[in-house]
Amino acid sequence: MDPVTAMYVAQGMHGLAYGMILFLLASGLTLIFGMMGILNLAHATFFMLSAYLCYQVIAWTGSFWLALLIAPIVTGIIGVLLERFLLRKVHAFGHIGELILTVGVSLVILESVKVFWGTESLPVQIPNVLQGLVTAGGLDYPIYRLFIIGLSLVILIVLMLILYKTRLGMVVRAAVSDADMVDALGINVPLVFMLVFGVGTWMAGVAGVAIAPILTVFPGLADQVGMDAFIVVVVGGFGSLGGALLVAIICGLLNSYGVQFVSQLAPVLMYIFMAIVLVFKPMGLFGERE
């Protein structure tokens, strides 16, 4: 294969891997913001927190796999606590209340992280199995990026199966569309919402661990990737997992090819994409309800 095509394919792989991490983060947000209608600006902060927890677990145990298991779960538990004791009480004030609360929470988490770990970027080592390259068709692929793509796909499929093929998923979807009715049927709706919120933050946690070895761990992580994830949810359409997947991949590719062709203006592309979509479809590509 000639070098130019190889470069395009390599850039495409980078974009795809970033898109999948974005999707992991965004799918959690689409559950929380898109389906439950809770504006959670702390989502990206959980993502950053999980990256730090990953660093800490590796520092203690030396195992990346253990970090991949523990960090997202701890993050998810913190998310559940946030929902149970704070967010639930301000739901009555609508998006403004949630905005104020989650901005407050993310400021507290961000500052605490700076107190505990400092502001420098911390490196995260990936295990030997994931290091190196795979050669196929005359091209080299970094294993770690393939691993991320695979992991994201597995989570997507499991999530889709739970959401659309099980009784639990049916209850969740029903609770989202008409909470009062489902409550009247004797289902504990607040518990369901707490669970969904927990799963959403857990996914943010997984994305945080996945990105830690690529970008290193630093406080600005939330700003950098969080906004992109927000764009994905909004453009994909509220509550649409498929939309989030499609837009995440588009954004990932826009990002990596953008860097190649218009290097300086790469981030602009994504916002222009978002603006154009929203001007014509205010509820996003696959969004239906207000």
Binding site: V90, I100, L101, V103, E111, S112, M227, Y271, P282
Partner: protein, 324 residues
């Protein structure tokens, strides 16, 4: 009669206080006051949308930033540009941006309105960061000459003198807030509130809802631009981070919530509360944002009506107890 007189006395007292303020507290606190007044105007013009018309925007920093960049660019590139036209250039730039966006924005409401603003606000932020040859990128535009405020042949005030700038800023900012206050008292201001409460009925009554929203939108944008322009003059520097960052967009929402939503003066109180809080916390700790975060959580959990609402509640309680 008594009430009216009391009002005038209060106004006069406030006026005298403002004139004496720099003498009483010194230049440092005068500058703190200017910052407070800038954010008070910014939040008040934002509240025209949020509190009065019921539109939640996540991207109003773009008007603040455009106003600031408009003034800064005018002063950088046109030598000998006078002060007032520079200020108006900022306001005009913001108003034009609002005019361009309003055909899109007035069609939607609710979450879509907020998200569209997030998109365009983000776009402006990245553009300000990346179009280095125009905006100076991360460094922003700074060090431009601040022209004196002069009426040719009569007077000239040196705006680099903090004291004289203080008075100038006060006239502009308080004047703008007064115009906004007056605006809400006109019949048009009543329609504005009606649009928030029941847009459909306003439509049936024969008022044009989208056009009404468009006028308010441009008005609000222009005054955010004024706040931004004064900010640029005051700091003699405007950067993408200060002007367009998403936190700058959220600032007026927080100020309004902490001050009290649904009241004209809420955002002003909110701005004062945050100003005082920042002054107090920077003395003891570097973690100002941690304190801000805790305050936000506290306010939304325990005093969701904000300062004005809480005061009103306490007042009512107190008065009913007196009655019994």
């Amino acid at each position: 009669m008594m009430n009216k007189m009391l009002k005038w006395i209060l106004w006069l007292a406030g006026f005298v206080f403002l004139i004496l303020y720099p003498k009483l507290f010194g230049i440092y606190y005068s500058n703190v006051f200017v910052t407070f007044a800038i954010f008070a105007l910014y939040a008040t013009s934002y509240n025209l949308l949020l509190g009065y018309t019921g539109l939640l925007s996540f991207g109003h920093a773009m008007f603040f930033g455009t106003g600031a960049y408009g003034t800064a660019l005018a002063l950088t590139h046109i030598s000998g540009f006078p002060l007032i036209p520079a200020l108006l250039a900022g306001a005009l730039a913001a108003a034009i941006l609002a005019l361009i966006l309003c055909p899109i924005m007035v069609r939607v409401g609710g979450t879509a309105f907020a998200m569209l603003h997030l998109a365009f606000g983000g776009l402006m932020y990245v553009l300000a960061l990346k179009l280095r040859h125009i905006t100076g990128g991360e460094d922003g535009i700074g060090g431009f000459d601040i022209p004196p405020f002069s009426i040719p042949g009569i007077v000239s005030f040196d705006m680099t003198d903090p004291l004289q700038f203080f008075y100038f800023a006060m006239v502009v900012l308080i004047g703008s807030i007064w115009i906004l206050w007056f605006f809400t008292k006109t019949p048009f201001g009543q329609i504005m509130i009606a649009v928030r409460d029941n847009a459909k009925r306003v439509d049936y009554l024969g008022f044009r809802v989208p056009q009404t929203k468009a006028v308010i939108y441009v008005f609000s944008g222009a005054f955010c631009g004024v706040a931004g322009a004064v900010y640029a003059l005051f700091q003699n520097l405007i950067s993408a981070e200060d002007g367009f960052h998403v936190m700058t967009s959220f600032a007026p929402i927080m100020l309004t919530m902490v001050g009290g939503i649904g009241s004209f003066f809420g955002p002003i109180f909110g701005s004062a509360i945050f100003g005082i809080l920042e002054e107090l916390t920077t003395r003891y700790t570097e973690r100002v944002e941690l304190v801000f975060g805790l305050v936000l959580i506290f306010v939304i959990m325990f005093a969701p009506m904000g300062f004005v609402g809480t005061v009103k509640m306490i007042k009512e309680k107190w008065f009913t107890r007196q009655g019994v």
